[in-house]
Structure formats: C-alpha cells, structure tokens
C-alpha cells in the first residue's frame, strides 16, 4: 500500500504546499518542519518552473523568487534527502511536466525513490497523457497523483478508477489562489469519486481560512493549502516558518 495513505490515517488530512527555495532552501526546510510539527499530514514540495500556467499570482511570484535565488532540481533533490533524516510524513513533488521530462523520467523518478518522495503532482499532465511518466512512476513506486476539476463531469469516474496515492480535487475554475467563496458542487464530485475508488481524496485551490478548511474536510478526506502558506513566505521571508506553523495549527484545529 502507498505510503501516502498514512497521511489520511489520523482524521482529516491537512496538506501543505511550499515552493522549494522560496526564498532559500534553508527556510523551506524550516517551514516544512514547522508545518509538520503543527499537524500537517503530507507536504507538497513545489519544484519551481519558469512558466507555471496553472498558478495564480501568489505562487507564480514564489516560483520567480525561488528561481532567482538559484534553486535547481538537483539542489532540491539534495535538500529533500537531508530533510528525510527527520521528516517522516509523506512527501510529494508538485511541478510541471517539462521539469520531469527535461531531467529524464527514469532519472527523476529513480531519484524520487532514492530520496524518499512518495508521489508526484503534475498539473499539466491530464489523464490522456499520463503514460508519459506512468511507467517510470510504477517502476520506482512513486504515485502519480491525478486531479479532478469542476469541469471533469463524465471524466471523474474514469480518472478516479485509475487514481493512485490520493485524488486531488480542484475546488473551482481558474488558477491557484485564495478565494472568498467556493461554489462548485463538490459533494456530487466526491460522491462519484467514492463510487469509483477506495483511495482518499483531498480538496485544493482557493482554501485559506479555518472555516473553509472545516467545511471542505467535512466533504473530503483532506484539504490542500498552497497560496495562503506561500503568502507568509512572501511577507516574512526567513521569518515565515513561525507563522506557517501557527497557521497550520489553526487549520488543523478547525478540521478536528
């Protein structure tokens, strides 16, 4: 069984997204540890990409800061290897197809296994194209996480039935970023997901407040928060981990 499953073993899962190298890898490490100490069950580590087409302004800016700081895929691999000495929650990479393709799928996913990364999320790799990386993912035991969107409709059943790790349910149309209101009929989406898979599902995109976290965790098995955490990195830089920790604690509290 996938290690990712363990993130959903203690009540509703809180999944935190952090862009590696924003503003530097040392701060990323401190932020990850602060999130885990305060209850994060799974960490999504963003490998920055020059042109992140699924991201809103907040995470775009984080990608730019990280790349400007000189972070690379190799530096991130070394960083995660180090992180794994004391961080035991499941870790997944979130990046774009070209980052993996350019590195070489075999080499990238082989390294994921070696350093202890459990899954990978590629927002520009839909169901139709997953064979690009699936063979290498299978070979090295790295879960290729599938996404479901508000527009997925009849595709939900197909995607869910072949999903691995956990299912990432995109809460709303558009790109990542905080939203004051989420209008999608997520209950209906989750229902179809449940009919087609045993694996857990988590809702992401637009979630920032404890109230939203509570509401979403009642619908699904977990919530994913990115932009709201990245905003702390933008605002406080090296001092951000403290704020990230407090924030994660408040979100996890609300989901109990």
């Amino acid at each position: 069984m996938s290690k990712i499953r363990s993130a959903f073993a203690n009540g509703k899962a809180f999944i935190a997204f952090i862009t590696c190298g924003d503003p530097d890898l040392e701060t990323t490490g401190a932020a990850v540890r602060a999130a885990v100490e305060n209850g994060a069950d799974l960490i999504e580590l963003g490998i920055p990409f020059s042109d992140p087409t699924a991201e809103g302004p907040v995470i775009q800016a984080a990608n730019e800061r990280a790349l400007a700081g000189g972070v690379t895929t190799d530096k991130i691999f070394a960083f995660v290897k180090e992180l794994r000495r004391d961080v035991s929650v499941p870790l997944v990479f979130m990046t774009y197809a070209n980052v993996v393709f350019s590195y070489g799928a075999e080499r990238f996913l082989g390294t994921c296994r070696e350093i202890g990364v459990d899954g990978i999320i590629l927002p520009d790799l839909p169901y139709e194209e997953k064979d690009e990386f699936l063979p290498a993912c299978r070979k090295y035991g790295v879960d290729l996480i599938s996404l479901i969107a508000p527009t997925s409709a009849q595709r939900i059943a197909t995607i869910a039935s072949e999903a691995e790790g956990f299912l990432y349910i995109v809460s709303s149309l558009g790109v990542t970023g905080t939203r004051s209101e989420i209008k999608t009929d997520l209950a209906s989406i989750v229902k179809v997901v449940r009919e087609n898979t045993e694996i857990p599902c988590a809702i992401g995109f637009g979630i920032s407040t404890p109230e939203q976290a509570k509401k979403m965790s009642e619908l699904a098995d977990g919530v994913i928060v990115g932009s709201a955490i990245v905003k702390f990195m933008a605002k406080y830089g090296k001092e951000a981990p403290k704020y990230v920790g407090e924030y994660v604690r408040s979100m996890k509290e609300a989901m109990k």
């Binding site: 990409f49 020059s50 042109d51 087409t53 699924a54 809103g56 302004p57 775009q60 790349l67 690379t72 895929t73 190799d74 774009y96 197809a97 070209n98 980052v99 993996v100 393709f101 350019s102 590195y103 927002p123 520009d124 790799l125 839909p126 169901y127 139709e128 194209e129 690009e132 599938s146 996404l147 479901i148 969107a149 508000p150 527009t151 997925s152 409709a153 595709r155 995607i159 995109v170 149309l173 558009g174 790109v175």
Partner: protein, 396 residues
Amino acid sequence: MTNRNGRFGIHGGQYIPETLMNAVIELEEAYNHYKDDPDFNRELTALFNDYAGRPSRLYYAEKMTKDLGGAKIYLKREDLNHTGAHKINNVLGQALLAKKMGKTRLIAETGAGQHGVATATAAALMGMECVVFMGEEDTVRQALNVYRMRLLGATVIPVRSGTGTLKDAVSEAMREWTSRIEDTHYCLGSVMGPHPFPTIVRDFQAVISKEIKAQILEKEGRLPDAVVACVGGGSNAIGSFYHFIGDAGVRLIGCEAAGRGIDTFETAATVNTGRVGIFHGMKSYFCQDEYGQIAPVYSISAGLDYPGIGPEHAYLHDVGRAEYVPVTDEEAVRAFEYTAKTEGIIPAIESAHAVAHAMKIAPSMGKDQVIVITISGRGDKDCAAIARYRGEDIHE
C-alpha cells in the same frame, strides 16, 4: 498525419490542466463536425473572399529575380489580406466555429499584435466580446496595434508576469480560459498549444498553399522548387507548406528568428538551439535550460519572439521533410529594406526573415527554378522599430 490526441510523430499531445480537458474535447468534436459541413465551408469561404480579400495574389517579383540573378521569385501576398497578415485566415475560421459552438466571447494572446487585431476584428464582425492578452513589453513596442484592438472594441490586458512577451501572453490566456470556459473560446493564434489547436489552425491556414499550388501551376505550369516562410509558432509556414508536403521535389524551408545569432543567448531559433520538451500544452522543441526552465528568447520581431515551435514543424524537422534555418536581425532588416526598395513592398519584419533566406539561396539556383516566399504580413507596424534599429528615432 495526426493520430491519437493529435500526435505528429512524438510531438503534440494535450499537456494541459484537467480543467481544460473537456473544453478541448468539445472543441475537437465541434471541429470534426463542422470541418466537412458544406454550410460551414460556404460561410467561411464567403468570409475569406468577400471580407478578407482572398485569394491573395501570387506576385512574380521580376526585379528581385533579375537582381539576385538565379531562381524566379514569387511572393505570396498574405500582407494584402484584410488586417494586413495571414492571421485573419485562422481567426475567421475559429471565430465562426466558436459562434457555431454557442460561445459569445473570444480570448487571444498576441505578440506583435497582428493576431490580436485579427481576433478583435472577427469579434467585431460577429458581435462577440473580445479580450486580448499582450506582454507588457509588446504593448509598448506595438502601441499602434493596441490602439487598433481597442478601436475594434476589444479589451487589451497587458501581461506583466515572466518576461512580459508572447509566451507570457499565451500563459495568461490559458489561465484566463481555465477560469471562464462556458462562454469563452480561446482563439489561439498559431499552430501550437494542445490538440486540436495545431490541426485546426493548420487547416485554416492551409488555404495559403492550396492557392499557391493552383496559382503557380497556372503561371509556370509546374510546382515550385522551394517554398520559404518565416517560423515563430509556425502558422504561416505550415499554411504555406501543407499542400506541398506530399510533393517531394518541393523544398520546404522555415526561417527562424536567430536574433543576434544562434551562438548567442539573444535568439529565438527554436529548432536550431532548443531541444524537445513539454510546454504550453504540447511536446515539441523549446529553448530551455538544462533543468527544463523555459529560456527568455529574443528577436527584433515580436511575432517570432517565442521559445517554442508548433509540433507539426518539429515532426517535419525530425523526418527531414522541412528545413529550419536561422536568420539574424541584421539579415532580416536588410531584407526588409531590400524588398521595399526593389519591389515597392514593405514586408512585416517577420516575413523579412523568409526574404533574407531566399536572397541567400536564389543566386545559386538555376534561372529555370522557382522559389515562392510567403509575405505573411505587411511591415507598416515595424517601421518605427526598424528606424530605431538603424539609429533613427521616429514618432508615430
């Protein structure tokens, strides 16, 4: 030539967010329905002929031919189309298709502004709302086209993210499409992006080579020896090549923007300096660093200032059916000035890249041989930039 999910060899595909998948599937179904529909084609042909001014002329450039002293040179005059470029062919097709699909709003990216102007034009004609994304740097470089788009009723949104050029305009248009799909069609301007765009745009642009073939057979009684066109994303080039792909005797030559040279970082010559990658919905050649970060590219031509190339071109390169050659800023500017002085035709700086290469190969070809150069657009928009390149500051 396309197979499952729009592959051209290994290239193409649909590397886009799940949110957009049903939109591109719906587009493909609609396109497959309408492409052979007699009513749709009658309407589109009427728009091409009566509104855009097709067929465009195939002009024998006698003075250029004599001056270069080799192959006979013909110019395919896409610059004479309504809105001044080949872009209108694709836009009229997509706008009509979008309208049939019940969409009421068109969004588009633009580099030099030609595709944005064409989209704004079609939207005005068909009573649709129009929003154009344009890199902030390009809105400054091409201020006149920004005004034209606004005059036509479009909203122009300057894109500040990334390098503030064409690639960022594409990214922003894709982001906008994920947030509003129901009533909106993304009118992509080149043979790029996720399937079915490379196929749809190619089919609407293929009118160029269809006309060239008939016109050259009438004028010369034979096929050309070479067809030369500039390539950014590659829509006028694929349009110019398409009906000749099966004619092995016709050399197909795409001219990439080398900027300050392919041995510098200031270049946009994708096939000559890039490698295979996945970006903007497709697998193809891209200018990128060793970790797959998309490289900032440069060309004097805003329309060729793009780090990728359409997947069908990538395939034609792989199988050796088409050649992709680099042309520098300096060579393009010289060809721009040469065409103006020799033939009284001011080509777009993009098209001047094709003229520049033809000037290199024509002298060594026989007098009985024939080159067709596609003049993809008119050069009025470029006059200020070329003057600046030559050290003269003019105000429009």
